[in-house]
Point group: C2
Chain length 236, copies 2
């Protein structure tokens, strides 16, 4: 008899992955909930611990579960880690370019700006404004300006109250860290750099004021200027 029908035919590991996600679904597990041990799953699925481990690793790579030594695996919170790696891989292998990323970001962030203006909590409004102001304050430390810039955009995405937007915006952070300095240097004068910071503050103020129109219009303007700067610097 050897192999009886099995559930699918794409390898034992794929089956195990399916069984584990099914377990999560059927038991209605949520973030933090514990999964069965490797040994238990190994027994239940009649496969070696090796197979179960590889399935766990796969799920952990996609950030569907968290692993840590000694403890059992737990269901994970939505996270942009895996998507970040996918995007970076796309860049590394020249399947996507920086301009395409900016198009996606612009499309999404014009929307998050709108939503943030409508839905931001007071704490989020304050955080967004603080990040924008930090960009001004640390003008002479580009490293810090960049980090505040990234935090600013991510906080707006969070304030949109749609975790998918937050995940996508987060996923681009890694790549943005590489391209940001290019944009900064390519602005032709400190005046332009100050103008960029001012624009961030203006977006923050529109969101604080709860003005979706102004928020999205200013965000669009910000991206148009950034793309122009990047193109001027000759980024493909």
């Amino acid at each position: 008899m050897a192999t009886f029908p099995e559930v699918g035919n794409a390898g034992l590991v794929s089956n195990a992955i399916g069984a584990i996600t099914a377990h999560i679904r059927m038991n209605e597990l949520g973030p933090g909930d514990r999964l069965p041990s490797e040994a238990a799953l190994s027994k239940e699925l009649s496969v070696s611990r090796t197979v179960v481990r590889e399935a766990f690793r796969s799920l952990a790579a996609m950030r569907l579960i968290d692993l840590s030594v000694g403890k059992r695996a737990t269901v994970a919170q939505l996270d942009h880690g895996a998507m970040s790696l996918m995007i970076e891989h796309g860049i590394d292998t020249e399947q996507i370019n920086v301009q395409q990323i900016y198009d996606v970001r612009r499309t999404i962030e014009v929307r998050t700006a709108t939503l943030a203006a409508l839905r931001r909590s007071n704490d989020e409004a304050r955080a967004i404004l603080e990040h924008a102001e930090a960009m001004r304050t640390n003008f002479d430390a580009p490293e810090r300006v960049m980090e505040s810039d990234l935090a600013f955009h991510l906080e707006i995405a969070r304030a949109s109250k749609n975790p998918i937007f937050a995940m996508i915006v987060g996923a681009f952070q890694g790549v943005s860290r590489q391209t940001w300095p290019i944009g900064w240097r390519s602005r032709s004068s400190d005046n332009e750099r100050h103008a960029m910071n001012d624009l961030h503050v203006a977006i923050a103020e529109a969101i604080v004021a709860g003005d979706p129109q102004a928020s999205s219009q200013l965000m669009a303007q910000h991206f148009d200027e950034s793309v122009k700067a990047l193109l001027a610097a000759g980024v493909a």
Copy 2:
């Protein structure tokens, strides 16, 4: 002394993943190019084959590489498989809901419609129109209407010539297969269902005509109506 500094401290598997992606980057590998064998990497990194395998599995889970028995691992093409699982996991664990997905899709697809009108090849234009017409033709077989609908949206994303859009739109297909029938049933009459199909044909014609304004406007209208139907059906 035991463990000497190592490269990082997040476990041997993480190190191996880093080493492999670094290998891809430094050798400028592209889709289809072959990676070193497990044994070779195992030797080079001074870790067991087990560790290398788990690293490979992790990368395969994120679809950065392809594995197949007997052959060496190869660099993979950008693919929405991993992101699909992430989204489904988000739904299963109630971290995201259907309305949020529709908001993301609307945001992105209004843009892909615009770009498709500007950039579609003739083949793509024809394929998009065919999918829309197939929705009409197969009116009595909802299953087929759905598949044509999904293919229609994905083809538009591809025609935008931005693989990130295609990846995101593709990632939502799995979930859409679950919610689509709800939307179909929730339209109050066959008239409304025919209207939905007509709207798809109208979008296709706008793209064929190379009219970005009309394309995006009609796509926005399509999503607004779909969301309305879903809300009417009481989808959270």
